[in-house]
């Protein structure tokens, strides 16, 4: 076990106000089961899961209610025992529409089904463990929700030699990963060992920002005596956005992910601490991913804290569990305030990727009037991906998507630093979010047309 500092400073970064003190010192609290759960089928990146239950079916806690719909997809399990009262289509926290299963909780039924635990995991073949991780529905819990079994089975021409455990949690307000590291260090260490076994990797970095000294200490203790593994706790300066995987790889290992590439192109796998814990639970206890820690925070939340809630809990339930609001909410954000999505209502339910729920009052929400670009270049300095946000946003605004593409808009990680620093309040990252899906769609159509010929 070693402790290091970041190799270099992040290129392009910002220092927003963090407000982490609202929740960072408080223990994770388990929430009583809500009456109804709304389970979206699109909780991960890739094809939405296919429901295998019908309206009126009774389900048991831990039972699989939707199966994965392809390689890049994961199943969904029932977090509680109860009855399926409806299956409909509704918006997910990320704004897309997806089918969802509505469960009515049966408080009487405390039965739980699990998959057989694998205490002897280090004697089983890797494929079996990967299959289990897929069956347990584990998807990246940092925000994007990339299916974990896919990440852990890289193609043979891309050997992995480094695992990076992402505990940076650079988003303001959020402390869910922080508290997990403090309280569940042992479980995370188990997950790390399992991941190292699956990928046959010896080098592990645990990246934590220096505003979480408690977490750094517990992770140091937990990583002591991991036999055969060269574990390093890498202390990063507090900066946004170093929780982004490409940035994190650069500052912990010094490797640069090529444009359009993936971490595996430089031999790295980056996993969020929550995901690592879910892997450990799936393998050692056979428990599928049905609950997660969500930071419920905001200055108008009466009792802001980290809540361990079943997936599918509505935001309204989460907020009322935290004592309700002291003032009317003006904006509700799922995830952190930098990259999270504003939500249309509190009726939306959490998913496997909901790391936080930030409730902001009127005085903290600004409606900006976008002004013309004054060419000051601050967005260039702030962009961690070395892009030219001003020029790209110009192109998007003018409808010239080809130009935007030639300016590498697809490398944008949508961190929002450019819009954060813009003195003209231009909606830079909003433009990129608008144009990227269209450009990707166009590329795909062009590729399809080529394939058809």
């Amino acid at each position: 076990m070693r402790v290091t500092r970041a190799l270099r400073k992040l290129r392009g970064s910002i220092h927003p106000q963090y407000f982490k003190g609202l929740t960072s010192d408080r223990n994770i609290v388990e929430m009583p089961l809500p009456e109804k759960l709304y389970l979206s089928m699109a909780q991960h990146l890739g094809a939405p899961a296919k429901p295998i239950v019908a309206k009126g079916d009774t389900v048991t806690r831990g039972q699989c209610i939707a199966e994965s719909a392809g390689f890049i997809s994961v199943p969904v399990h029932a977090p509680v025992s109860g009855k399926v009262i409806d299956i409909d289509t509704a918006p997910t926290p990320s704004g897309t529409m997806a089918p969802r299963v509505i469960l009515e909780t049966d408080p009487e039924n405390t039965e739980t089904v699990t998959m057989p635990p694998m205490p002897d995991w280090n004697e089983r073949p890797q494929e079996e463990l990967l299959k289990r991780i897929a069956e347990a529905g584990v998807a990246g819990m940092g925000g994007a929700g990339f299916p974990t079994h896919v990440k852990l089975s890289p193609p043979s021409d891309k050997p992995i030699n480094t695992i990076i455990i992402n505990g940076a949690e650079c988003e303001p307000y959020l402390t869910a990963d922080h508290r997990l590291m403090v309280e569940q260090g042992k479980g995370i260490a188990d997950g790390i060992r399992i991941m190292c076994y699956i990928l046959n990797v010896k080098t592990v970095f645990v990246a934590i920002e220096d505003n979480k000294p408690e977490a750094i200490k517990t992770m140091q203790d937990a990583l002591e005596n991991l036999e055969g593994i060269d574990a390093t706790v890498c202390i990063l300066p507090t900066e946004y956005p170093q929780g982004a995987e490409k940035q994190q790889i650069a500052i912990t290992t010094g490797r640069e992910v090529p444009s359009g590439g993936l971490p595996m192109d430089v031999g790295c796998v980056v996993e969020n601490v929550g995901t690592v814990l879910a892997i450990a639970d799936a393998i050692k206890k056979g428990i599928p991913l049905t609950q997660r820690v969500t930071t419920v925070t905001g200055h108008i939340v009466k009792n802001p804290q980290n809540v361990l809630a079943p997936i599918g809990t509505t935001y309204a339930d989460l907020v009322s569990f935290c004592g309700g609001l002291t003032a009317p909410a003006a904006k509700v954000i799922s995830g952190g305030p930098m990259m999270g999505m504003a939500q249309p209502s509190l009726a939306i339910a959490t998913t496997k990727t909901t790391s936080g729920l930030v409730v902001l009052e009127e005085s903290r929400v600004h409606i900006y009037q976008a002004m013309p670009c004054i060419g000051c270049g601050r967005c260039l300095e702030a962009c961690p991906m070395n892009l030219v946000p001003a020029a790209i946003s110009y192109a998007v605004e003018g409808g010239d998507y080809d130009r935007a593409e030639s300016l590498n808009i697809l490398d944008c990680i949508e961190c929002g630093c450019c819009a954060f620093v813009c003195p003209s309040s231009r909606p830079l990252v909003q433009h990129f979010k608008l144009a990227k899906p269209k450009i990707i769609l166009k590329r795909r159509q062009a590729a399809d047309a080529k394939g058809a010929k």
Binding site: P372, Y394, A395, E397, G398, D400, R403
Partner: protein
């Protein structure tokens, strides 16, 4: 050697064909909407100006000059002879390109007829005579003039592409704002004045 370098600097920056001598304004405004076409135009101008300098120098010194083959002072035929020679020469090249290099023709071809008797081409031919350049100097001057034209066109196209995305007020849209930009660009090039004569 120094003479040639000064000649190039002079033709590209100090006495820029478009922005100081105001020659070749038509293609300068006409094909400056998209960088792709502008680059095609630059290629065509580079070729035509260089070769036109060479051809017109030969015609002038061998046919029209009193010391030429004919032996009579025919310099008053300069304009008509130059137009004739340049026009047919460019046509000839276009025909040859179309057959032998269809790819190059597709990117340059449409611009060649556009600039056959352009004022920039005539200008370079007449200036060669006026300034009494030798053959090699005339060719270098033609090439440098085209470089200057290309520089101005590329800068201008870059500006116009940005302006097109920026929604100027309706009254300024299109050529109006382009002319204002061209004027400002010309002013900027005034900064090179008297650097080299």
């Amino acid at each position: 050697m120094t003479g040639y370098i000064l000649l190039i600097i002079s033709a590209v920056l100090v006495n820029n064909f478009v922005l100081t001598r105001f020659l070749g304004i038509c293609p300068f405004l006409g094909v400056s909407r998209k960088m792709g076409t502008a680059l095609g135009m630059c290629g065509a101008v580079l070729f035509v100006l260089t070769s036109a300098s060479a051809v017109t120098w030969l015609v002038y010194h061998y046919f029209l000059h009193p010391n030429g083959l004919i032996g009579a002072d025919l310099t008053y035929l300069q304009t008509i002879a130059f137009i004739l020679v340049i026009a047919s020469f460019v046509q000839l090249v276009e025909l040859a390109l179309k057959k032998t290099m269809p790819r190059l023709h597709a990117s340059l071809g449409i611009f060649l007829p556009l600039i056959t008797t352009n004022c920039a081409v005539m200008g370079v031919a007449v200036l060669n005579v006026q300034l009494e350049y030798t053959f090699s100097k005339a060719v270098v001057f033609g090439f440098a003039a085209a470089l200057g034209f290309s520089l101005a066109l590329i800068i201008f196209t870059g500006l116009r592409e940005k302006i097109d995305l920026a929604h100027p007020p309706r009254a300024f849209q299109g050529v109006a704002i382009a002319l204002i930009t061209a004027g400002l660009l010309s002013l900027a090039f005034m900064g090179f004045a008297n650097m080299v004569n």
